[in-house]
């Protein structure tokens, strides 16, 4: 399992973040992002995942993050402050399964090995 700090990701482009995450997950790692991804990066990660699904090799990812706290304020929009991501866990679909999730807690079951 790799816990990736907000500082490491903040200097990376969206594509670099997605490539880093997918490479780790395809190698069987569970990735925990301190600050998560932006909504646009999340959807691009799903898009990239779809292009890399292969029969009997990689069936996709399990990704879990919390719902956004609230919509950005008018001032946030004026000054271009985007909604920040929240802590996110991403892993291979065949190794991680969500047991329960609500606004405040994500419970997952992680399988190690086959």
């Amino acid at each position: 399992m790799d816990l990736i700090s907000a500082e490491k990701l903040e200097n990376m482009t969206s594509m670099e973040k997605i490539r880093l995450i997918l490479d780790k997950v395809k190698n069987g790692k569970i990735v925990v992002l301190e600050n998560g991804l932006t909504p646009d990066e999340e959807v691009r990660l799903i898009e990239m995942t779809m292009t890399e699904i292969r029969v009997d090799e990689f069936s996709g990812i399990e990704i879990e993050s919390y719902p956004s706290k609230k919509e950005g304020s008018f001032l946030d929009r004026i000054f271009g402050r985007s909604i920040k991501g929240r802590m996110t866990i991403i892993g291979p679909a065949n190794q991680i399964r969500t047991i329960e999730k609500d606004k405040y807690q994500i419970s997952t079951k992680v399988s190690v090995g086959d």
Binding site: E47, I53, E62, S68, F79, I83
Partner: protein, 212 residues
């Protein structure tokens, strides 16, 4: 994003709200088997001359290509709105062909369906860039905290586009629209049964109010 472009985007959004347009391109989004195509067919049944979007099936990912119908006029709240409706394939983060074999499909059919389903998810994501709003269809009998729901809502909030949550399948005994409302309290929600058409007039009123 620069200050000037953010300001222009914000002003554009507010001007659009003040001078409400009466035509909108809306997408039906949600996880597989939430009832998107059943709802799309219901809307066409109610507001066109018997057109349909496509087949529905208990096997996930029955819709694997986005389909669009233009010029669907809905009358509600004493006014009318013309919609371009896009029925998108179910969004997912994983697709395993073995899941389809459990529904009785052959291995060859299942692998083909899985391949097409991955393409469908990509198509659904691409459509997000070309819409005026989204109807996010959720299955009221399922846990609403799925990543697909969280991601679609996050994207609509980030893009400042209107979103209406449709709590579908309220005809089923274990449906719990209240659970959906509690999960995403900042967004409007309408509970319906697209299959039976129950409460559908409330949905049309909400569509007119949200996207008109």
């Amino acid at each position: 994003m620069g200050f000037i472009s953010s300001l222009k985007e914000s002003l554009g959004s507010w001007i659009n709200r003040i001078f409400k347009k009466k035509r909108a391109k809306i997408g039906l989004y949600g996880p597989p088997n939430a009832g998107k195509t059943t709802l799309a067919n219901r809307i066409l049944h109610d507001w066109t001359d018997g057109e349909t979007f496509g087949e529905v099936s208990p096997v996930p990912h029955e819709t694997r290509r986005a389909m669009r119908k233009e010029g669907v006029v809905i009358n509600a709240n004493g006014s009318s709105i013309e919609l371009d409706i896009v029925d998108t394939p179910g969004m997912a983060t994983k697709i395993d062909f073995k899941e389809f074999m459990a529904f009785g499909l052959s291995e060859v059919e299942s692998k083909k369906r899985a391949k097409e389903a991955t393409e469908g998810v990509i198509e659904a994501i691409k459509w997000l860039d070309d819409l005026d709003g989204v109807l996010l269809v959720m299955d009221s009998t399922e846990d609403p905290y799925t990543q697909v729901n969280v991601t679609v809502i996050g994207n609509m909030e980030a893009r400042r586009l209107p979103l209406l949550i449709v709590a579908n399948k309220m005809d089923l005994p274990n449906a719990s629209p209240a659970r959906i409302k509690a999960a995403f309290p900042q967004h409007s929600m309408v509970q319906i049964s697209a299959l039976e058409g129950s409460n559908i007039d409330n949905l049309y009123q909400a569509i007119a109010a949200h996207f008109g």
